[in-house]
Amino acid sequence: MNSKKTEKIAFFVLFLATLLIILPVGLVVCIIIQKGFPAMTWQFLTDIPRQGMRAGGIFPALVGTIYIVFGAILFALPIGLGAAIYLSEYTKEHFLNRLIKLAIVNLAGVPSVVYGLFGFAFFVIFFKFGASILSGSLTLAIMILPIIITASREALESVPYSFREVSYSLGASKWQTIRHIVLGNAIPGILTGTILGVGRAAGETAPILFTVAAFYLPQLPKTIFDQAMALPYHLYVISTQVPNVDEKIRYGTALVLLILVFFMNLVAIVIRTQFRKKKKW
């Protein structure tokens, strides 16, 4: 067999491998949209679940997820941004830098259910927050920390060094330079990381299983010490725990969750591409 022919066959096989990933993804998204779309009514989004979650809507789960995710960002963004600033602007000791990066990699690799265990032992039991929005948000915050740190650090490091030098030469202090020059130019990148973190937090189930998620709770949570329903857990419940739930409701819930997560990713991608186009350097 000559080498040209081998090349053709090899490239065809590689193409097939790519199709084997892309096609199922497309198929999954299409199925969910096609079967979930009929459930998409205003009532579905704004009504509480009725008849043992076999009818009605998903409003408490939707609101619960928004609360939990908002709380997670509230905790994760300041710490994540601080860590990113430290790694990109302050760190000098190579060893400590390496150690922090290794910790971030490991934090990103800890299985989500282990976060759930930790959140339960630490926030729910040790700090006596109980199963609550506070516990769930804190648990998710630690989980999305690596995403925010990594994206923000990249954004900060991509600001050219000359910007900083100009600022110093004008007599600005280190913090003034970071605050007014570096951060300003890194905001799109930081925003991208934050939104990706939101998307990740919104879709996770295992970390909230024992820290906040309520099986069924028709009223909305009033304080951060209340339990709340959450969209991913609700999908798990109606597809495995409750028998005879109408297919439409299951697909509808899956679709809402998918839209929520994809929307976040889309916004992140749009910001990123806009930013790259407008880059001044």
Partner: protein, 288 residues
């Protein structure tokens, strides 16, 4: 005043910087605190290598070999599927595909990475599980093989994106050198690029499989959750992660069962720690 303000801010930034290290240690300490209590009741060898997981029988039997084997079997299956397809896709995106579809393909991969695992689990339940049942003529489609297929898809985005990065970071001159010597594009990829990127690709595979071992929801929904030693991939199995997720809600705080679930958490933490450290070493290997 200005000086003092900056001092405070710089200390706050230092604290944030150290937060990741602090959290990793904190997670491990709390797992140890709750998990090690188990070994007052069960010896570690028996816990790891005993065959019976009956947490609510009297007395409870807490031995996790069936769960370890369940996790290994599902992971092995996912590896067999995801490694060739994922690496193949990475090569295609990095070297073969025309630039115009390259971005679309990458977006498709990112899309897959973004789908929440509970949604994939749900889709697996309603599509994959009945197919597996019909194709293999089984009493149930909730089997290890269904889990492996689903998990392969969850590992692929990691494998593809990191392997693609590794291929991309091989200096252009390597390939150009090979092409100048008269090799075809494929020969250059196969003989030059792949060996040069091998440590990055290895790290990609490790991280992909790390994701598989730690995956919880999809696995819990489609592997059938039978805590017995699996004899074939066409049987229901139960993984370490699914056991924690399924039983934590019922375990009484402070009971042997509760401690055992944290001990499983220690096992998962240690395994993922080793995987991540190894992958990191391979990723940061000194470039030639």
């Amino acid at each position: 005043m200005q000086k003092f303000k900056e001092f405070i801010i710089e200390k706050l930034i230092l604290i944030s910087g150290l937060a990741s290290i602090f959290f990793v240690i904190l997670i491990f300490l709390f797992l140890l605190k709750e998990g090690l209590a188990l070994f007052k009741f069960v010896n570690p060898g028996q816990f790891l290598f005993g065959k019976n997981w009956y947490p609510i029988s009297e007395p409870a039997q807490l031995e996790i070999l069936p769960l370890i084997l369940g996790s290994l079997l599902v992971t092995l299956g996912a590896a067999v599927i995801s490694i060739p397809i994922g690496v193949g896709c990475a090569i295609f995106i990095a070297e073969v595909s025309p630039p115009s579809i390259k971005e679309i393909l990458k977006a498709g991969i990112e899309l897959l990475a973004a789908i929440p695992s509970v949604v994939l689990g749900f889709i697996g339940m309603v599509t994959l599980v009945p197919w597996v049942k019909n194709i293999f003529q089984l009493p149930t489609g909730l089997t290890a093989v269904s889990g492996s297929i689903m998990l392969a898809f969850m590992a692929m985005p990691t494998i593809v994106s990191i392997a693609e990065d590794a291929l991309y970071s091989v200096p252009k001159s390597y390939k150009e050198g090979a092409l100048a010597l008269g090799s075809t594009k494929w020969q250059a990829i196969y003989r030059v690029l792949l060996p040069a990127a091998s440590s990055g690709i290895f790290a990609a595979v490790m991280l992909g499989l790390g994701r598989v071992i730690g995956e919880t929801m999809a696995v819990m929904m489609i592997t059938g959750n039978a805590a017995v030693i699996p004899k074939s991939i066409l049987q229901p199995v139960r993984t370490l992660t699914a056991t924690i997720a399924a039983e934590m809600g019922e375990a009484v705080v402070g009971s042997e069962h509760y401690f055992a679930l944290f001990a499983i958490g220690i096992v998962l933490f240690v395994v993922s720690f080793m995987i991540n450290v190894t992958a990191d070493l391979f990723l940061h290997r000194k470039k030639i």
